[in-house]
């Protein structure tokens, strides 16, 4: 190592391992939570305590409830900046490292080699996708959104559906393109995470023997398949969501005075308590 080597070369090991680590914590962990939240649009109907009647209304209400919960977290901006920093670090180093290799899947068609190349391609595409995703929906760069929808955490389902569909009343041509872009983007990133988790275990020296690498591969593939279902459910769920229906549910939730539900439950609870008291007295 020469004395005038750049910081990446000078702290080679640290940089490499931080690149590996940031892919799992915080980015991978966040991905799991993010897909869990977003896929509520598909399974939120199961939530019997949601503020709505019918499967779809309960799903919209559940998603809104989750988004509101996240937006009420203390020091949210610190969490966000940490994530943006980690993603930026992982992306820049990742692209730099990926460019040091030269794929050869044409000659060596082994599955491991295919995954090596796919890991790099999904990385490049993922950087592009995440930037668009965060810029349009979080930073409000609505000029990049067909139809110009601005995402709001207070009307999370409807505004996202509008951004994904290209308008507030159904798909437009550009909207379809955005939806397909999302579908490819999230699929690629889920693969990138699952495959990265598999190779990180070799990098850190956790899996050494071939059977161990294979076993861990099955675990990672299982996790990847589960996340993939959640990712697809999220994209399809919002791409097929009815804007007006979502607005109606969100309005009803906004109109409801804070803690109305809770007060109602306390009142109901005290009634029951009185009844119980009477029973005891009787």
């Amino acid at each position: 190592m020469s004395d005038n080597a750049g910081p990446i070369a000078k702290h080679h090991f640290l940089m490499r391992r931080l690149h590996s680590l940031t892919g799992i914590v915080p980015i991978g962990v966040f991905l799991i939570m993010h897909l869990t939240t977003n896929s509520t649009i598909a399974w939120g109907g199961l939530n019997s305590r949601a503020h709505g009647e019918g499967w779809m209304n309960r799903a919209i209400a559940t998603f809104q409830h989750e988004v509101s919960f996240i937006n009420n977290m203390p020091l949210l901006l610190i969490i966000e900046v940490t994530l943006w920093g980690a993603i930026g670090f992982h992306s820049i180093l990742g692209v730099y490292y990926a460019m040091s290799g030269k794929g050869n899947t044409g000659e060596y068609k082994y599955s491991g080699n295919m995954r090596y190349t796919l890991q790099r391609l999904t990385g490049y595409f993922g950087v592009f996708f995440i930037f668009y995703h965060v810029a349009t929906l979080r930073w409000g760069w609505s000029f990049l959104v067909p139809g110009g929808a601005v995402w709001s955490h207070e009307a999370a389902s409807s505004t996202f559906a509008a951004a994904l569909q290209g308008s507030t009343d159904g798909f437009t041509g550009w909207g379809l393109l955005v939806a397909v872009f999302y579908f490819v983007g999230v699929s690629g990133l889920v693969f990138h995470f699952a495959n990265g988790l598999w190779s990180a275990a070799i990098t850190w020296g956790i899996t050494i023997s071939r059977p161990a690498q294979k076993r861990w591969g099955v675990v990672c593939a299982g996790l990847g398949a589960g996340l993939m279902v959640m990712a697809w459910a999220s994209v399809v769920g919002f791409a097929t969501l009815d804007y007006d229906q979502a607005v109606a549910v969100e309005k009803a939730m906004m109109d409801q005075p804070a803690h109305a539900e809770l007060e109602h439950e306390i009142e109901a609870g005290s009634d029951t308590a009185m009844v119980d008291q009477q029973d005891v007295d009787g």
Partner: protein, 283 residues
């Protein structure tokens, strides 16, 4: 089934080809030629009669005796490197039909079973060409010196017998000892790229063979005295972390050496070494 067979991508195809091989046929050899370092490359084809049991080396011998291309043009004999002719020296490694392997053990029946089939021969692409199919593998050996791939036994007095080794441990190390430095793992590796500038060799990716040899000598009872030096190199630029886990190395290794297991093992040593350096290292 041996490890090497288990890893072979096209073992079934080659077995089937051997069965359908036609006797007394001619095969076209399409060879990438180059007259010397830095000279332009060109393709030349030769029509070679195939005898029973013919391999690439015997066919190259025939071409050397009859250096006339398929278009009837007289040319220079094709140059290649070889030594043992029994797949233990690694010298005759070249790219055959797009994939790297030793040419001495490459039977024509397995690749070109029918009349007029083509065999494509190219030099390895990751090393500088000396001439035709002959390459300079100096960087491969340089990388073995980077990891101090040896056992330190020299002293100013008799150091006596080394420590005893268990049978199982011997067996594990025997597998690693089979490496013949042929370069297949490097040729197939997407992270190991050609580097003509010798001054950059020590910071470019070291390759699976050197990582596996580092493990081989780290595991040796006397060899482990240099473990810390080896790990200093391997945690540095061009070391273990540059591996991209494509795992082509283990698939093309003609000796079936568990190279990816060595990569995992050295990865673990690197993790431990780095933590040790952080908490008790002096530099």
């Amino acid at each position: 089934m041996s490890e090497a067979e288990a890893y072979s991508f096209d073992a079934d195809m080659r077995k089937a080809n051997r069965k359908k091989a036609v006797a007394e046929r001619s095969v076209i050899f399409k060879i990438k030629r180059c007259d010397g370092p830095g000279k332009p490359t060109r393709w030349e084809s030769f029509k070679v009669p195939i005898k029973e049991g013919a391999n690439v080396i015997s066919s190259l011998n025939w071409i050397a005796a009859n250096p006339v291309t398929t278009s009837g043009q007289k040319t220079t004999p094709v140059v290649w490197d070889s030594n043992c002719l029994e797949e233990v020296c690694g010298a005759c490694t070249m790219v055959i039909n797009g994939r790297v392997r030793q040419s001495c053990s490459c039977l024509i029946d397995e690749y070109a079973p029918l009349e007029g089939d083509t065999m494509t021969l190219e030099p390895m692409s990751k090393f500088p060409v000396i001439r035709d199919l002959w390459v300079d593998r100096a960087r491969l050996f340089n990388n073995l010196t980077r990891v101090k791939g040896w056992v330190p036994i020299d002293g100013t007095y008799n150091l006596g017998a080394g420590p005893k080794e268990s049978h199982d441990h011997q067996q594990m190390r025997y597998t690693l000892s089979e490496c013949m430095s042929c370069g297949c793992c490097l040729e197939a590796c997407p992270q190991f790229t050609k580097e003509e500038d010798e001054s950059k060799w020590d910071t470019s990716f070291i390759g699976a063979h050197a990582i596996s040899q580092a493990r081989y000598f780290n595991e040796h009872e006397t060899g482990k005295k240099l473990k810390s030096d080896r790990m200093d190199t391997l945690v540095g630029e061009g070391g273990i972390n540059d591996c991209g886990n494509a795992q082509n190395c283990v698939k093309v290794c003609p000796k079936g050496i568990p190279l990816t297991e060595s990569i995992g093992a050295i990865g673990r040593s690197a993790t431990v070494h780095a933590f040790k350096q952080f908490f008790q290292g002096k530099k």
